[in-house]
Symmetry: C2
Subunit: 194 residues, 2 copies
DNA sequence: ATCACACTAGATAGATCGCTCTAGCGGCAG
DNA sequence: CTGCCGCTAGAGCGATCTATCTAGTGTGAT
């Protein structure tokens, strides 16, 4: 919107970046306000619920932005199969360019807090569900029946998330590329005959 | 080995359980010794390198045990296809029974520390690589050529890890079951014609 | 000009963090 | 019995954590 982001926006952006790299518990609020170049008091003004409320918002906002980003990859693609493959290819490229730091914006948080913070867990679940529905609707639009599309969305997202884990650990894009090939093949196989 | 585990073993076991549920940074050493019913000093006697050394050992030991567990599922299976599917089915069952806490023993740690602790990152990478080789050798033993077996191992493990993320967030086994079906189908498709 | 209010700013509290330190226990070798 | 040593045991250190508190600043309405 504005050329100079507000303090609140800077806090959210800085948090998203730090959470994605070091996780939720591994990131301190002091570190966040330092990275956001924001005064300490502003954090608790904009997020009276403290770190947990900030985390929940970051999950939803970063999750929404990542969903848009995936859509932006699918849109110009000639068909769903190549669109699917390109999501993995571009994710691999971006991961390597960020020195294997920028994978899924919410996966690390999701695993960390799944058993300890119910509001944040629900936020991650809703973001994932939103992605699944977006993916599934792309598949149904290509002529795949809804039940198969749902399954396909689940496996595609599982492949992406799992490959992110392996790639960040190994500092390789091997898993993402293999996952992309299989995801694309699965979509192609589910397509009705032309 | 012994019916009463040693203090060191209790510390490793308790750490593995806590790390898997809450992550590495989310678990304190005080909490570990309390859960292990071990004296505080013993931790630094057995692990002079502190929490990081403990984390590295936990990754390797828990990773090795989980690899054996997967092998124990494959072994009695009539063929690789049903073996693959059963890994996912049993993982789903165990996850639900543990109130969606016990997924992959090292995935949470892997994402958290990938960009902050090189010794621990290498440990996770080596554990994953060990699993991949185990999986690939099962596939080659079934007559699949090595290159395809490698790709298949990568996608199978990606499906498993990614589905764990989705299932813990959603508190559902839906993703694991869908992933298992697709993994089994991919293995079947790669099998040489009988 | 004045008031109200949203926001900035940072000192500081209270708890918890990882870790170090010294003291003592208990089994085994001589 | 004595001396040694692996291990137990926990007090306590400095650092850092999240969160609160008060004070100050800037802007827009009246």
């Amino acid at each position: 919107m504005s050329s100079t982001p507000t303090t609140k926006e800077r806090i959210v952006i800085a948090s998203a970046e730090l959470f994605r790299r070091q996780g939720y518990t591994g990131t301190g609020v002091k570190q966040i306000v330092a990275a956001a170049q924001a005064p300490f008091g502003s954090l608790y003004h904009h997020f009276p619920g403290g770190k947990e409320q900030l985390g929940e918002q970051v999950i939803r906002i970063a999750g929404g932005m990542y969903g848009e980003l995936v859509s932006a990859v699918f849109d110009p693609a000639p068909d769903v199969v190549t669109g699917t493959e390109q999501v993995f290819t571009l994710a691999a490229q971006h991961l390597a360019e960020s020195d294997y730091a920028d994978a899924c914006p919410i996966a690390t948080i999701a695993l960390e807090i799944a058993s300890s913070s119910e509001p944040m867990r629900i936020a991650t679940a809703e973001v994932f569900e939103g992605w699944l529905e977006k993916l599934a609707s792309r598949f149904t639009a290509a002529g795949i029946d809804p039940a198969t599309a749902r399954t396909l969305a689940l496996t595609t997202l599982s492949l992406l998330e799992g490959a992110f884990v392996l790639c960040r650990a190994a500092r390789t894009t091997e898993a993402l590329l293999a996952a992309g090939t299989q995801a694309a093949a699965a979509v192609r196989a589910a397509l009705p005959e032309a």
